[in-house]
Symmetry: C2
Subunit: 84 residues, 2 copies
């Protein structure tokens, strides 16, 4: 079976996020108030062949840790997207 998996790679809590901070600083000038704690990360969508949802998620996470992220400063989460 093929599962549609979304992997999100984000900086670990406590790691400085200059991209997010810059976005946050730009918001008032663009007229956006009341938006805080902006954190930037990456998103990957993949089709994973696996026999179960759990196996698809596990494969996506191991792939994310090896290829898509720097596990020292980043964490990866994966979820199944409803539409297959």
């Amino acid at each position: 079976m093929t599962f549609s998996v979304v992997v999100e790679v984000s900086l670990r809590p406590g790691i400085a996020d200059p991209e997010g901070a810059t976005i946050e600083r730009a918001l008032p000038a663009l007229g956006f108030q009341g938006i805080a704690n902006v954190r930037a990360g990456k998103c990957f969508r993949l089709s994973v062949d696996a026999s179960s949802e759990a196996e698809a998620l596990e494969r996506a996470i191991s792939l994310a840790d090896r290829l898509l992220s720097n596990p020292v400063i980043e964490q990866s989460t994966a979820r199944i997207e409803a539409s297959a």
Copy 2:
């Protein structure tokens, strides 16, 4: 009320995604088989002050279209994250 919003910015369908294609090409050499249709994008997490979930999502999307994405080639989706 403050809502935790996740904004995903991804290339529109049909727009070439060289980053995703490069990842996909690297997978077999790393021992990952059966993974296809890799698309790369960006993810942003924000805390949005709003009176309702719908308003928070609408503010996040208008922000994404103005500041976080290039609407010509990218599309933005927003969702509320369960933990506030």
